[in-house]
């Protein structure tokens, strides 16, 4: 298993506050990783750095077999090399139909001219239908995304991530606002994806994390506190102190 993403010693400060402090993180492909940590630990900021939204003050972010640096790339270029993201707060294009949301996400050429002359092929149509079935929105394709429930928006965003077909999926709190049944469905989906992709899941719900059956990285105050199986990190004194003991 080769490493797909290698983050080395990154730090970032906001107005003097160190949100990320000398953080290192490696994930291979295929691999599933859960990232846990208390509120404000820097989980979302970590994803911001990998996707190019926030620039770290120090450190390196390397990608793929060639180990090219992601720090020199724009958000769009990082997405194009194969990093996909689901946001903590569901962000879909509310004004547009579910179908249109999925269509713009589909993995196809990203330039303006290509978009102007884009035709929906049979394959595109089939893929959208397949994703819609997966995310349970088959009956909602023509509805504007804005009127979906919170949980449905979560699903739509997961669908958009699937449509993008990235190599690395950064999934920030996917289960929020979902029913127990939906959570089970999400775990199953993520586990299936992790057979051929690198998947990083941020989640507060421990039951959810347990069902993922994967390595766990615990973040605290912007650094990695512990890493290993869930039982292993849960047994760690410091983890108990900062995270579970509260």
């Amino acid at each position: 298993m080769n490493s797909l993403l290698e983050v080395q010693g990154i730090s970032v400060s906001f107005d003097g506050f160190r949100a990320i402090n000398n953080l290192s993180f490696v994930i291979g492909c295929p691999e599933m990783r859960a990232v846990i940590g208390p509120n404000g630990a820097g989980k979302t900021t970590f994803m911001d750095i990998v996707t190019g939204k926030t620039r770290p003050d120090t450190g390196s972010v390397r990608w793929g077999e060639t180990g090219r640096s992601l720090l020199a790339l724009s958000e769009a270029e990082i997405a194009q090399v194969g990093v996909g993201r689901k946001f903590q707060r569901p962000t879909v294009f509310e004004d547009q139909s579910v179908w249109d949301n999925l269509r713009v996400s589909l993995k196809k050429p990203r330039g303006p001219i290509a978009a102007l002359f884009d035709r929906v092929t049979e394959a595109d149509r089939a893929r959208i239908d397949e994703i819609a079935a997966e995310i349970g929105l088959s009956d909602h394709l023509d509805r504007p995304a804005g009127i979906l429930s919170h949980g449905q928006k979560q699903w739509l965003e997961i669908g958009m991530l699937l449509a993008q077909d990235p190599r690395l999926l950064l999934v920030d709190e996917p289960a929020a606002g979902m029913t127990t049944e939906e959570r089970e469905h999400t775990t199953a989906l993520l586990k299936r994806l992790a057979q051929s992709h690198a998947v990083v899941v941020v989640e507060h719900d421990m039951e959810f994390v347990r069902r993922l059956e994967c390595r766990v990285t615990v973040l605290h105050e912007g650094s990695v506190l512990a890493e290993g199986s869930l039982d292993h990190v849960m047994a760690d004194e410091r983890v108990i102190e900062v995270y579970l003991g509260r």
Binding site: S74, A76, A79, D95, Q96, R103, V104, L116, V120, Q164
Partner: protein, 389 residues
Amino acid sequence: MERSIFARNPSVPIFIGVLTLLALGVTVMSEAYGTGAISVSFTKVLGMTLCLCLAALAMDLVWGYCGILSLGHFAFFGLGGYGIGMWLMTARTEDVVRANLMGGVIPPTEAEVSDATAAQIFSVVGATDWPWMWAASGSLVLSLLLVVLVPGVLALVFGWLAFRSRVTGVYLSILTQAMTLALSLYLFQNDTGLRGNNGLSGLQNIPGLDTVGQDRISIWFFWASAAALGLAYVGAVWLVSGKFGNIIRGIRDDEQRVRFLGYRVEAYKLFVFTLSGVICGIAGALYYPQAGIVNPDEIAPIASIYLAVWVAIGGRGRLYGAVIGAAAVSLLSTYFTGGRAPDIDLGIYTIEWVDWWPVLLGLGFVLVTLFAPKGLGGLVDYIVRKDRA
């Protein structure tokens, strides 16, 4: 689901139908081809209104669909006018000069004609030589190219600088205001080669059409303006109906999200901004021969703000809304400020509409915002939907 743009956008056949009816109606009532119920000057007003509608359409693409509130698009409109104006003025003046010189014993040389033409055009600013920017003014084809290229290149360069630095929102609007202000101040100077505050005049005289009266020329320009608007409408609908439209609306609502999908937001913004600049240039090139004169006042910052107001009143993001808004407001403006509206004598005070028109416009703006937040176009949607129900 993907359907033909006509099915997705029933406004296309309606829009083209209404435009055709309007063109037919004006033609049968024109002085040149019909009853003469519509005067030449009113034909010109209507033709010019269609050009303003075209500019508003471009404004809706860039603002209503892509979320870029440009308050500088009239600069492109004015530049289009200057582009065609240089050719009109040169060719026309040259004809006049040639006719005058023909009286002499020896036929004039080309150099003499050229010198005399330049002297005639630039005497108002105390110059006699051709400025470099008039280099293309001898050729209609080159001038038409300028109409497209000058606004296009300006929009491209400006947009590239602004979008690359991720200037958005109010800051971008201010920057576009600065652009149009700078351009108009530059043109106001006498030594820039475009006749300073005199601008270019006599543009209603089309070279080679001396024997054709203004009655016919006015209706021809009206047709051309209607055709341009119709074509642009279909093109704009096509542009916003496909995936490209989904992406730019995504940029309007959440540009960061679009970036994370792998789209280079700057490239899309630049594309729309430049395209709309070019459309405005073409609209200006059709407008000013009907207006007869273009001067730096035309591209004062307020003009671009009006353009945004028309689109806001008409309703953003629905194309026909912008057209309705521009037509309604600019026609009313002509009515009230053109001395057509009778002043109201209240005894102690006389309401002169020329002064009160801005107040009326402001009031209208507030009313539309309060009672029809989606603009006049939104009102149309409402009525149409009610009919169907």
